[in-house]
């Protein structure tokens, strides 16, 4: 009896889980990036492979527990012993793993191994407890040098630039929200001024940590206009949950307007 209840409970848990995953009760938001379909495909592939293993594992467990409860004479081992099991594990799981690794490495490589498009638009991101700030190079296309000792958030010098003495920094545009033109390759450089942070945009399928002391490049192209959340996913202190910024993906014309407005406010 106990065994049969166990089997039913395990089967129910398996079914409910499978139902929730298949019907997307809670699911990923629609992808808006050029590389995202590869990652989504890889997640689907993994759901298929791992999901089959999950269902098979739980159902076999449940049915054996269902079938073999109680004393029933001399017990016997499965025909063939452990050898087929070990071979099964190596061959089937091994094949799945290799397949996932090869296909997965393509998805990963598409994001991380490919060089950024030469026409990429550079944007600097400064993360600090507990906000992001963004920097566009302005007309000269050059970012001013960073002087950490000059960072003064009270006077809104979030990056530590020196526009009075540094011609490159003079027309740098520092903003609190990030806007990008749609279908334009973007090259972000991530700096952190204090602790580890992360740059996570679910719709862009981008998550990358900031590491203090390192400049970390990351590139992507957004394919749909809209307003999205950039959130911090690396524990950074008491305001971690409130560390976010907005990403606006705009048409080229809207973006130009936006940048002009931001430049006027510097």
């Amino acid at each position: 009896m106990v065994g049969k209840i166990f089997a039913v409970v395990v089967a129910l848990v398996t079914l409910v889980t499978a139902y929730c995953v298949i019907t997307h009760v809670w699911w990923m938001p629609v992808d808006i990036s050029a590389h995202g379909p590869k990652i989504d495909h890889q997640i689907e592939e993994t759901i298929l492979v791992a999901g089959l293993l999950f269902i098979a594992g739980q159902i076999v467990l449940a049915s054996f527990v269902f079938l073999y409860g109680g004393a029933r004479g001399k017990p016997k081992q499965i025909p063939g012993g452990a050898k087929p099991l070990v071979i099964f594990a190596f061959v089937l799981v091994g094949t799945e793993i290799l397949a996932l690794s090869f296909i997965g490495s393509k998805a990963w490589g598409a994001v991380y191994f490919a060089a950024p498009d030469p026409s990429s638009m550079p944007i600097d991101v400064q993360a600090g407890q507990f906000a992001y700030y963004f920097r566009y190079p302005g007309l000269d296309g050059k970012f001013g040098a960073l002087h950490p000792e000059m960072i003064n958030e009270g006077t809104q010098n979030y990056f530590g630039i020196d526009p009075e003495h540094d011609p490159d920094a003079k027309d740098d545009i520092v903003t609190a929200e990030m806007a990008i033109p749609v279908n334009q390759p973007i090259l972000l450089t991530l700096h952190s001024k204090d602790v580890g942070h992360s740059f996570y945009v679910r719709e862009l399928r981008v998550q990358q940590d900031f590491v203090p002391g390192l400049d970390i490049p990351i590139h992507f192209t957004a394919t749909q206009t809209g307003r999205y959340e950039i959130v911090c996913t690396q524990l950074c202190g008491l305001g971690h949950y409130n560390m976010k910024a907005y990403l606006s993906v705009l048409s080229q014309a809207d973006f130009d307007d936006w940048l002009k407005k931001q430049a006027a406010m510097q």
Binding site: I39, A107, I216, E229
Partner: protein
């Protein structure tokens, strides 16, 4: 050689309360001390998770007692964000170190390993006592952080630098709280290193006559393998903790780069590397997951044959070699915690492959357990129910690993609640279920009384269903991009997930409440449970060949000789390891 060592470890029975129960060198007392400490720690950790879950799902709810316990951290019972993170840090620290590492390895291992190898005590009894008391002081230091003005640290149990390294400028709790935390962990490392040495030497040197390695009980095998993994992993965490302490107190910059600005103040550090901390931490941290789960493998593999009344399929070899493979591979996979950390993306591929390959020995272990059920005579006593529950939870947990082992899928799921669900299933609940299995199984041996079966089963059903309700939901919200380690949900994105949050909170409260059934059962049975026979389960290993509880020197001066392996089960009949009778053929 074995005999001289047995004599070396033999010592007279202690007199007086303090030597007998407090500063005892008896491995059985030390084992029970470890188990008691981890039970206290587990209930503390659980209370912390209750407070956190309540706050997440009902942010305005005034949590009873919390405002009184910490007027600073939770004015009027509504916790501040920093207090939430402090509770989270201490939940992780207490559970990972003082419960999951302490109970299945140090707790059961201490009580049972010497008995299972037929020895009178551990190889180094005084060292053993030192291990426990150092662990205890470590726990006190961790607990003390609740009673200092700024409270416990808020940097998580992983304590990433530079958040953990720069001091109080990084946030409340990062001052004295983090310092106490570092020393608490350093003490835990020292205790674990001493304990691991003791386990290794005892297994190698103190085995009784005829107990070859191939006849070792599977639990002893797992503790033995685990001791090696502990020895190598804690040997890295200890210096990592000391370097962190130097950065905090000695003005060094091992983990702190130059040019950091906190609160508009340039910090006087230069040249350190935050990634170095992550490498050192996870070089320990990933094996740590297996340090937690390997004893669970052993306990379950030890319990299975007793209740299926036959040996595991593949005998001792397949499961043991799977454990050795898991333990070995665990040292080359740590980078999968760092796919999005800024480590070279090429390294991500390097770490991804062994991470996926470690599933092969894990799958072999699962197949051994599941297919051993085939053709068996299953008995559903509570220890077996918990072992079966362990297998189900471990399968589920392992499945999540496929998503996190690949950098491409991890880059979406990293730091979402999917990860939280995954590691709670694998290293958290699987290990807890195996611990419960071991507790119900060995309780009669430890205390000479049986636990109540009805309460045990009720405890199982509530726990099993509760675990799935809480932690499977975490997986699902993770797919939706729910970020972990948030003390409240302000994002437009996360607010629609509130119904799921409430469901998890209510499930977690019920899951936690059902643990009191266990607590009651454990205490009540100690005094009122029916007297246990020497071998109530019809098992075969040496711990069942002595009285319940065993005498001070375990076997009353008998020198045992072992003739069989640990899995001589043939339906209702079984052959004790020490029985000179021939094996009933046909495995």
């Amino acid at each position: 050689m074995a005999e001289t060592s047995v004599q070396a470890a033999h010592h007279a029975a202690p007199q007086g309360f303090i030597r007998k129960y407090l500063f005892s060198v008896d491995h059985k007392v030390i084992g029970i001390q470890y188990l008691t400490l981890s039970m206290v720690a587990a209930f503390v950790g659980m209370a912390l998770s209750w407070a956190m879950r309540l706050h997440l799902a009902y942010p305005d709810f005034r949590i009873p007692l919390l405002g009184w316990l910490s007027p600073n951290g939770a004015p009027n019972g509504v916790m501040t964000p920093e207090y939430y993170l402090s509770l989270m840090t201490m939940h992780g620290t207490i559970m990972a170190f003082f419960v999951l590492t302490a109970a299945p390895f140090a707790g059961f291992g201490n009580f049972l390993l010497p008995i299972q190898v037929g020895a009178a005590d551990m190889a180094f009894p005084r060292l053993n006592m030192t291990s426990f008391w150092v662990t205890f002081v470590g726990f006190l230091l961790a607990a003390a952080t609740f009673f200092i003005p700024d409270g416990p640290p808020l940097s998580g149990w992983t304590a990433y630098a530079p958040l953990s390294a720069v001091g109080s400028v990084a946030g409340p709790g990062q001052g004295l709280g983090q310092t106490l935390w570092v020393f608490s962990i350093a003490l835990f490392c020292i205790a674990s290193l001493l304990g691991a040495l003791n386990f290794i030497v005892t297994t190698l040197d103190l085995r009784t006559k005829g107990l070859t390695l191939s006849r070792l009980p599977l639990s002893t095998w797992a503790w033995f393998i685990d001791a090696w993994v502990s020895l190598l992993a804690f040997a890295v965490l200890l210096p990592c903790g000391l370097l962190l302490a130097l950065d905090r107190l000695g003005g060094t910059s091992f983990f702190i780069p130059g040019g950091l600005v906190f609160n508009d103040q340039l910090q006087p550090h230069s040249g350190g590397s935050p990634l170095l901390f992550q490498h050192l931490f996870w070089f320990f941290g990933h094996p740590e997951v297996y340090i937690i789960i390997l004893p669970a493998f052993g306990i379950v593999s030890h319990i299975f044959p007793t209740f299926i009344r036959k040996p595991l399929v593949g005998g001792w070899k397949v499961i043991t070699f799977a454990e050795i493979a898991v333990g070995t591979l665990s040292f080359v996979v740590w980078g999968h915690h760092m796919f999005v950390s800024g480590m070279s993306p090429f390294m991500a591929m390097v770490f991804s492959v062994p991470t996926l390959f470690i599933t092969i020995p894990s799958v072999i272990a699962v197949l051994v357990w599941v297919f051993s059920l085939y053709g068996s005579n299953l008995r559903f006593d509570t220890p077996m129910l918990y072992s079966l529950g362990f297998v189900s939870l471990f399968i589920t947990g392992g499945i999540g690993g496929f998503f996190l082992a690949q950098p491409s899928t991890d880059s979406y799921l990293h730091a979402t609640s999917f990860v939280v669900g995954h590691f709670h299933f694998t290293m958290g609940l699987s290990a807890i279920f195996a611990t419960f299995a071991g507790f119900y199984y060995w309780y009669p041996k430890m205390f000479g009384r049986m636990m109540n079966e009805k309460l045990g089963k009720l405890h199982f059903w509530l726990s099993f269903v509760g675990v799935y309700c809480v932690f499977m939901t975490l997986h699902l919200t993770g797919f939706a991009g729910s970020v972990r380690r948030y003390s409240a949900f302000v994002d437009d994105f996360m607010i629609p997930l509130m119904p799921a949050q409430r469901f998890m909170t209510i499930s977690a409260l019920l899951l936690g409440a059902s643990q009191f059934i266990f607590l009651f059962n454990a205490i009540w049975s100690r005094f009122k449970g029916p007297k246990a026979a020497d071998n109530p389960w019809g098992a075969t290993t040496l711990e069942w060949d002595t009285t319940s509880p065993p005498p001070f020197d375990n076997f009353g001066g008998r020198q045992l000789t072992v003739y069989h392996g640990p899995m001589e089960y043939h339906g209702e009949a079984s052959v004790m390891q020490t029985s000179p009778a021939a094996s009933v053929a046909g495995t």
